[in-house]
């Protein structure tokens, strides 16, 4: 080892405190940058791996009429589609611990959305099912038990499912559910509780209800990126085109069916009359036969009578024998006639019976045909217009919120650690300049001995490099493991995501360490160069101590004269070492600002949802409806709804302006007058009420900000059908979650050229939620969402964010400690002679401590005050940076947060002072005997 390295190592050994604190500062800086970024990256990798591993869908398609093989083929032929899975999804009640719980049943996946079997096996026939663990647990079920499914209307149930009891064969987890939220359903109170999987043969619907699509570029694409989402929108458009084409074909099919029914009816009518004709003509024929028979009979009777008369006259005339031959011939003829007659008669009767049978059969066949036609017509009349609804993962709440969470983390990971870095650089600046100053005479000696400045500088640079690199690297590695562990643990309460791989994000880590090292090294070089300006002779002489000076405060005798002796000393000392004072002030202020920002973040992120529901979407619940076009639909609804309700139309659109575009919702209240009873409309900032007028739209402030459309401007609205319209903005209103464009029905009709059919109704409860069950039975109601439930769901999500802020708070505290420790150490080491003198003068340990503490307390106090002021600004900056498109965070810091920030800063100041006390009381009084330096 070179003497040089030995010297440096010895230097480190002799000043462990300085080296360690420099390293720790670098470590904290690097850990905060790398850690939060790493968490964001790890979370994304976890989700990406999970999505890809389970072949998660890119698009989900629902159809009003279901899917058949042709639909699947059409999808397969759509550009970019890699895989198609048509499947069946059916919601029913499952009996779980004695109660009916809305449960979504899925057909076992075939290629997409693969499930994990965590226990048991998958169903192998129509009478088996695999359930999610929660259902198993809540229901107290075991594998092999039977779970019963049912619906209120069992006809509907039987139309879809062949069994009503299913044997549980296993426990599965579905990639479709990454949160513990299960989403909405049309059953019960509108919220879904469980999911389970059935064998495809369990379904008897005859068509598939859903189609899932995987697109070909997506397996290679990172799933959690803006690129993916942009691509997904494009894919959605393409599949919608396919859907439109399929819908047209299906509509043609329907038209054909109608024509067939019409033709059938005509055929039926002609059948009826044909039958009648045929029967009539046959009957006429028979009647003729009958008449002929009757005639024949009369003739025969006449012949008999004539014969009888002939026999009688022959007997009386005695000519019988002579006539015998003649008589016998006549008798034979009559007998022949009778037998012919009877044969004819029986033929006739057979004919009549045959005709009657024929007629009955014909009528029956016709009636059946009529029934069939009626049935077909009824069915066709009931069938909805064929239409496809295409959903991307963005429409699945959980997938998007997970993505947004990673984005938010990433943004915090950029902004927050920057402040860390600034504070860290400032502290190491003080630290290193102190070191160089301490070594002033030594540097002078080296210089006098003929060493070149660069050679001498090397030592300090290596020292700084050592501290920065070792601390930075340790911080980066520790950060990239510890932060994800803590933060993903917090998110694991929210997301059901397999553990993330945890690579050290090398790029960011290297950048962080290099910038940490660069910062420390540059600072060192700077102070070194400044110190080296003098000639060796000047350098070797001790630096004259800074002369005392009066402070500004002394110009105010009124105040100064009232101050105690030590207060005066403190005031002077604080301002004596200006640079250290400023550094300490900045350090403390930085930490206080970080703390305040972290607490403020917690307040704001947690507050957004609360404010949205308290101030904007004030209603208690909202029902999603089919389009309400006629009075009949409305009557049933109105009866089931609470008294206070407002029908609205909400339409998802894209809103664009000169600065950018966003997805937004157009809201058209049926009665604009009462809109502000349900939606709070107030100007941002001033909270002045804003009213909706005809001829223009109100837009929410974030939308205005992002699109760059102000009051009086025109916002471009693109509907889902691709048509674009321009609407004048007449006002801007406050809002926190999502983006709204409010319009009166008249404006809507003017702009869109169509009446605004209500498709939603917002309401206040009359008397609890008892109405919900009745309302949901109404065929026009699709789902009912309660605001308090939404709020608690969002609450869970912001809980996770809270952990992030807690991590930031802990970091800020650690930084506060190191900063204060470092600066106090420097303070003591710079003034060791003065402090030793004070001890020699007979100050007790506590008095000596107070001598320093008073200064620290004053600087801390000033620093905290400055930090609070700066913290408010930093908070504004951070909160605007971490804001995601869909949200506007309210800029609120609760008074408690100020108190916490102050209390924590003060606590750390006290803690550092306690730690420092040992150092103070350990000061060797002999130091006082030495010459300055």
């Amino acid at each position: 080892m070179s003497a040089y390295m030995k010297d440096i190592l010895r230097e480190i050994k002799h000043t462990p405190g300085r080296f360690v604190s420099l390293a720790v500062i670098a470590a904290l800086g690097a850990a905060s940058v790398v850690g939060i970024q790493a968490t964001s990256i790890d979370m994304r990798l976890a989700a990406d791996a999970m999505y890809k591993g389970h072949n998660l869908y890119d698009l989900q398609i629902k159809s009003t009429v279901g899917f058949d093989g042709d639909d699947a083929d059409a999808l397969r032929q759509t550009e970019g589609v890699a895989a198609v899975m048509t499947t069946t999804i059916f919601d029913a009640y499952a009996k779980v611990s004695g109660e009916n719980h809305a449960t979504r049943t899925y057909a076992l996946p075939d290629g997409l959305n693969l499930v994990d079997v965590t226990e048991g096996r998958l169903p192998e026939n129509g009478g088996e099912c695999a359930v999610e663990r929660r259902l198993l647990r809540d229901g107290g079920y075991r594998i092999g038990d039977t779970v019963e499914l049912a619906l209120d209307n069992m006809d509907d149930y039987r139309a879809a499912l062949g069994h009503s009891a299913f044997t549980i064969t296993g426990v599965v987890t579905s990639p479709l559910y990454i949160t513990f939220q299960r989403g909405n359903t049309a059953l019960g109170d509108g919220s879904l509780d469980y999911y389970l999987y059935l064998h495809p043969s369990a379904y008897t619907l005859g068509v598939y209800t859903d189609a899932y699509v995987r697109m070909s570029p997506s397996p290679d694409m990172d799933n959690l990126t803006h690129e993916y989402y942009a691509a997904a929108d494009e894919w959605k458009r393409r599949v919608e085109q396919t859907g439109a084409a399929r819908a047209k074909l299906k509509s043609d099919d329907m038209a054909r069916a109608w024509r067939e029914i019409y033709e059938g009816r005509e055929e039926y009518e002609s059948g009826v009359s044909e039958l009648a004709e045929r029967v009539a003509s046959a009957r006429a024929l028979l009647d003729e036969t009958k008449a002929a028979l009757d005639e024949a009979r009369a003739e025969l009777e006449n012949a008999q009578a004539a014969l009888d008369a002939m026999i009688a006259s022959a007997l009386s005339a005695g000519t019988f024998d002579a006539m015998r031959e003649q008589i016998e011939a006549a008798k034979a003829a009559i007998d022949g006639g009778w037998s012919e007659y009877f044969a004819g008669l029986s033929r006739y009767e057979g004919g009549v019976a045959e005709l009657d049978a024929e007629e009955t059969a014909g009528k029956k066949a016709l009636a059946e045909a009529a029934d069939r036609l009626d049935e077909a017509e009824e069915k066709l009349a009931k069938a909805p217009a064929p239409e496809w609804f295409v959903f991307t993962r963005k429409d699945g709440v959980a997938f998007d919120s997970y993505f947004q969470d990673t984005l938010r983390l990433e943004k915090i990971g950029y902004v927050f650690p920057m402040v860390f870095f600034l504070v860290a650089v400032m502290v190491s600046l003080t630290s290193m300049s102190r070191m160089v100053e301490e070594h002033r005479t030594r540097i002078g000696v080296y210089k006098a001995l003929g060493y070149r400045a660069a050679a001498v500088a090397q030592k300090y640079l290596l020292y700084a490099l050592g501290a920065g690199a070792s601390g930075g690297a340790a911080g980066a590695v520790a950060g990239s493991y510890v932060f994800p562990l803590i933060i993903t643990d917090a998110y694991s309460h929210l997301y059901d995501m397999p553990p993330a791989p945890m690579p050290v994000p090398l790029g960011i880590a290297v950048a962080a360490v290099v910038s940490a090292v660069l910062a420390v090294v540059c600072v060192t070089l700077g102070t070194y160069m400044a110190a080296m300006k003098g000639s060796p002779a000047v350098l070797m002489r001790p630096k004259p101590p800074a002369g005392g000076r009066r402070v500004l405060l002394e110009r105010v005798p009124l105040l100064w004269n009232k101050m105690g002796f030590f207060s005066k000393v403190t005031a002077r000392n604080v301002f004596r070492y200006k640079r250290r004072f400023i550094m300490t002030l900045a350090g403390v202020a930085g930490c206080a600002a970080l703390l305040l920002t972290a607490f403020g973040l917690r307040d704001s992120i947690g507050g957004a949802a609360g404010l949205q529901f308290a101030e904007v979407t004030k209603y208690d619940a909202r029902a999603y409806l089919k389009d309400i076009a006629d009075e009949g639909q409305r009557e049933g609804l109105t009866a089931a709804l609470p008294k206070a309700h407002l029908f609205i139309r909400e339409e998802a659109v894209d809103a664009d302006g000169p600065k950018g575009g966003l997805a937004a919702s157009v809201i058209i209240p049926e009665d604009p007058e009462s809109l502000d009873d349900y939606y709070g409309l107030s100007a941002p900032g001033t909270k002045e009420p804003v009213t909706l007028t005809h001829g223009g739209a109100l837009i929410t402030d974030k939308l205005a900000r992002v699109t760059g459309v102000g009051e009086g401007g025109a916002i471009a609205i693109t509907c889902s059908n691709g048509k674009a319209y321009n609407v004048t903005v007449t006002g801007i209103v406050d809002n926190y979650i999502q983006h709204f464009i409010y319009m009166s029905p008249e404006t809507y009709a003017d702009v869109f050229g169509a009446p605004a059919l209500p498709n939603s109704v917002v309401m206040y409860y009359d008397n609890g939620r008892a109405f919900a069950a009745v309302l949901l039975e109404n065929e026009n109601v699709r789902a009912l969402l309660h605001n308090d439930e939404l709020l608690s769901q969002i609450g869970e999500q912001t809980d996770a964010m809270e952990i992030v802020t807690v991590v930031l708070i802990v970091l800020a505290c650690a930084l506060a400690f190191v900063v204060l420790y470092n600066l106090t150490t420097i303070n003591i080491s710079e003034r060791v002679r003065e402090l030793a003198t004070i001890r020699v003068l007979g100050f007790y340990d506590s008095e000596l401590a107070m001598y320093i503490y008073r200064e620290n307390a004053l600087v801390t106090l000033l620093g905290v005050l400055l930090g609070l002021a700066g913290g408010v600004e930093l908070f504004r900056f951070v909160i605007t940076s971490v804001e995601i498109d869909i949200l506007k965070f309210p800029h609120i810091i609760r008074p408690q947060s100020f108190a916490y920030a102050v209390a924590l800063s003060a606590a750390f100041a006290v803690l550092v002072n306690l730690v420092m006390r040992r150092k103070l009381t350990g000061i060797d009084m002999v130091e006082s005997l030495k010459s300055a330096e």
Partner: protein, 235 residues
């Protein structure tokens, strides 16, 4: 106050650095009378600073006893030794050790803050001849003036013992002389026991008793029945 105000008996002080033990004081025994000016003299490294540190309550002993005014200070607790420094000792440093951020008056007042029986700082400053520079900061004062302030600071505590460590070491001849004069006058007029440590043997005639130390041991103790006034000596 009389005989044996300060007694060193077989005082040994060892400093250990690793396995090497250095004996700075190796069985030092002497005594000083109260109300007198005593000088402890010896070459650099002889151990006189060790004696001063022990006497000033800044350092302990390895063995032996030190008694000041009948109180054994070598066995006092940390707190008691601090009280001893505070109440009984006034210390004058070679490099004055004034608090740079305090004016002359304030430096003297500093002593006042911790000592109840303190003297009026202004009067003490007047006594050392600095009445006109009370409001100057140390950096604005000459070396001699600074040392006067330091003496005033030590005296203002009204100590039993005024300990001076090479008080003129950083001063020129004339100024040094004036400081010695001040010390002698203080001893004579105020009856303060003054102990001066110096390597300068030439000033020994002004003291009542001179303790010469060499290699950690007392070489010789000399008494001057009639100490010379400072003005009469030269070096």
């Amino acid at each position: 106050m009389g005989e044996d105000y300060v007694i060193f008996r077989d005082v040994v002080r060892e400093y250990r650095t690793g396995s090497v033990a250095v004996r700075a004081a190796d069985g030092i025994t002497f005594s000083l009378r109260g109300g007198e000016l005593s000088i402890i003299v010896g070459p650099s490294g002889a151990g006189k600073t060790t004696v001063l540190n022990i006497l000033g309550g800044m350092d302990g002993v390895t063995s032996g006893t030190v008694t000041v005014d009948g109180r054994e200070i070598s066995s006092l607790s940390r707190r008691d030794i601090c009280s001893y420094r505070r109440d009984d000792v006034g210390f004058v440093f070679q490099f004055y050790n004034l608090i740079p951020n305090l004016t002359a008056l304030e430096n003297v007042e500093l002593a006042l803050q911790i000592r109840k029986e303190a003297l009026d700082p202004r009067a003490v400053l007047e006594d050392v001849g600095l009445g006109h520079r009370m409001h100057n900061f140390p950096a604005q004062l000459s070396g001699g003036e600074q040392q006067r302030v330091a003496i005033a600071r030590a005296l203002a505590k009204n100590p039993k013992l005024l300990l001076c460590d090479e008080p003129t070491g950083a001063l020129d001849y004339e100024t040094g002389k004036s400081i010695f004069r001040l010390l002698q006058d203080t001893c004579r007029e105020k009856g303060v026991t003054v102990v001066v440590i110096t390597h300068n043997g030439a000033v020994t005639p002004i003291a009542h008793r001179v303790v010469k130390i060499k290699s950690g041991k007392v070489e010789r103790v000399t008494d001057n029945p009639c100490p010379k006034p400072v003005a009469e000596i030269e070096w």
